[in-house]
């Protein structure tokens, strides 16, 4: 097949980079990169992250209070009169906050309960395995 007909084959246009088609995270390395390219890519990621951290620290200095910083980050949600979006009235925001707090308490209680049960079942499992390995000798 000639180069031209290969180029004209439907669906066969070629890219110019190693654009990832199913990216999971910037932490995952594209397999087609050479070791040198991987190192260079890592340098780009490190630079990107340090820029983000610098910007974060700058904001922290501006707003020592963490809650104010969050408020600053979502200020764009509010209109010029400081009102929340029409679909999200203040009552809903407060009620949603209470619901999430209550759910967190519920999940924490559930997690504690499950941790306790896990300790218990591990002990039973260990004992059962020990019994199989060293069955009690009848007198």
């Amino acid at each position: 097949m000639s180069q031209d007909s290969e180029k004209n084959k439907p669906g066969s246009r070629k890219g110019i980079g190693q654009v990832t088609t199913e990216p999971k995270s910037i932490k995952s390395e594209p397999p087609e990169l050479t070791p040198q390219q991987q190192a260079l890519r890592q340098a780009v990621i490190t630079e990107f992250r340090s820029k983000k951290i610098k910007a974060f620290v700058a904001k922290q200095v501006k707003h020592i209070n963490a809650n104010r910083q969050v408020a600053d980050g979502i200020r764009f949600l509010f209109d010029e009169n400081g009102l929340p979006p029409a679909n999200a009235p203040l009552e809903d925001i407060i009620s949603e906050r209470k619901k999430i707090e209550s759910e967190i308490r519920w999940f924490e209680a559930m997690a504690n309960e499950m941790r306790g049960r896990l300790v218990q079942i591990k002990e039973i499992e260990e004992l059962a395995l020990e019994m199989i390995e060293n069955p009690p000798v009848d007198e």
Binding site: P10, G11, S12, R13, K14, G15, I16, G17, Q18, V19, T20, T21, E22, P23, K24, S25, I26, K27, P30, Q37, L40, R41, A43, V44, I45, F48, K51, K52, F76, L77, P85, A86, N87, A88, D92, I93, S95, E96
Partner: protein, 302 residues
Amino acid sequence: MAAPLFLLAPPRSYTSLINAMIGQHPEAFGLPELNLFNVQQTKDLWRNVSDDIGDDNNRRQGLLRAVAEIYAGEQTRDAVVMAQHWASARENMMTGDVFVELVNKIDPLIAVEKSPAYTISVDRMKRIYEAFPDAKFIHLVRHPIPQSKSVMGLNDGIFALFVNAIDFQADKAILDPQIAWHDININILNFLDIVPAENQMRIRGELIMENPREELAGICRWLGIRDDEEAVDDMMHPEASPFACFGPVNALFGNDPNFLRGSKFRPHKPRLPAMDAELPWRDDGVRLRPEVVALAREFGYE
């Protein structure tokens, strides 16, 4: 069932605005970003895929808002809770079947959707085609320089980094979004090779910004829907879409936050840089790559 319309474009290509404009046609229904075809089964949308690009939670909010609006006729906290249950009841369904269900529910209106994340993978676009073999597609393009500049302006260019749009040189690597512009458009072209010619059209976003009435009427004729003045008037008001604003507190987004904040359309003529213009994101004098220039020319940019 009316065949849905999908807008295919890399991010930052006027997709939110144009999706809402077409969706305001009396015979259409503009959806938020559903992101359904990113994954195979509904439950996969609830799996965290990345801690790098925004919040995973955001990519589900378009679906929740759409279900709330379509089934409850409102977007309130309670309607979103209902939508969460709706999605949960369909967690093992293929996302294509879930989309079909939504399209049936709004029938005879034409569903209009765009999720830029579809275009990073041909497989994702193929899922659309498998679910809707008669779907129509608009390949929306934007000049590579303003599009890339806009990508770099969003969260320091995380998107370019995420898809590995990196220019590797002998001793350094530079984030270069023109690579993503090129390769994502190539993905779209490769996918559209399997779609019948009559079910696809390509349009430059800048033309719609400059001559919205003529271009929108042309899209209507291609879709086989009304192209009268009244219908086009409706399309000139994307801000009237129920999804052109922030949602309730438990599903605030579902689209580009800048669009959600203010989606009024004002016709204007975008300034198009020359193909050999300096690239605002490069300080080493590098220009557009020959492949990028060739593709941009193929799209009609001078």
